[in-house]
Amino acid sequence: MRDFYGTSLPNGFMLGTAQYPSPAILADAFKRSGASVATVSLRRESGQDRAGQDFWELIRELNVHILPNTAGCHSAREAVTTAYMAREVFDTKWIKLEVIGEEDTLQPDVFGLVEAARILSEDGFQVFPYTTEDLVVADRLLNVGCEVLMPWGAPIGSGLGLNNVFGLRAMRAHFPDVPLVIDAGLGVPSQAAQAMELGYDAVLLNTAVAKAGDPAAMAEAFAKAIEAGTLATIADPMEQRDMAEPSTPVIGKAFLS
């Protein structure tokens, strides 16, 4: 697996921390997932209940890499300010940069994304941009300092899987040395395996695990799919072909008709 800004991860599983039925189930899901990265966010804190402090203790105990996001930001300026706040709170240069451009699909505003990525990269952030499979945008992101790309599989929370396999395969082929992560849209483990079989370095998902009937079991299922897909890629899959080719040798076949 390719490094992420010099950090080598033990597997390609990045797991979100939102929407779990309880903190205990979240922790259990992480244990069974073996995920190496947890995504987190920032929200308004109350001086009375200080809910964020308990959550922070829970996350620290997971002992995984922390990837803060700028979820919910709709402009480069908003995302940049959020990134600065996240860097201070989580004490990491990593930032999952989201600049949302459209409400129904939560599609990234790629123009704002490139601008925010430029500002943050120049200031020392290590940006993980949530983007589309557009190769031109990807090139712009790399040019402004990104060393990782995170194209969407499908709209956030949709569970539709890999909507544009052609585009994602093209992205992998076009940027053979860049760490690539499928971020968002996965619903079931087979889609994660498919992503890894395309040669992607990791998948980032949340809803598919958190909203499963048994989140911890689903987390383990995704872990096995990611492992299978990774191993399959290393094993170098066969070439596809349109017509059949008998696998059993025809030489020596008896004449019985």
Binding site: S41, R44, W56, T81
Partner: protein, 65 residues
């Protein structure tokens, strides 16, 4: 003076951001702050003077995808 703290109107006698956080129960908490949409680093809170009508945001770690 009157401020907006996380979108809620508050009346305060705190003259700095650090004092406001102490008064509002954030003492020792792991939070990040912004005033009028500008990030204020932790080390600057003590000398960041507040003015009537300021919009103060206090954010903490939260679940995210």
């Amino acid at each position: 003076m009157k401020l907006q703290l996380n979108g809620t109107a508050v009346e305060t006698k705190a003259s700095t951001l650090a004092a406001l956080l102490d008064d509002e129960g954030f003492g020792g908490a792991k939070v990040a702050t912004a005033v009028n949409s500008e990030f204020v680093p932790e080390g600057m809170r003590g000398c960041h003077t507040l003015y009537d009508g300021d919009r103060v945001e206090v954010l903490a770690p939260m679940q995210g995808g």
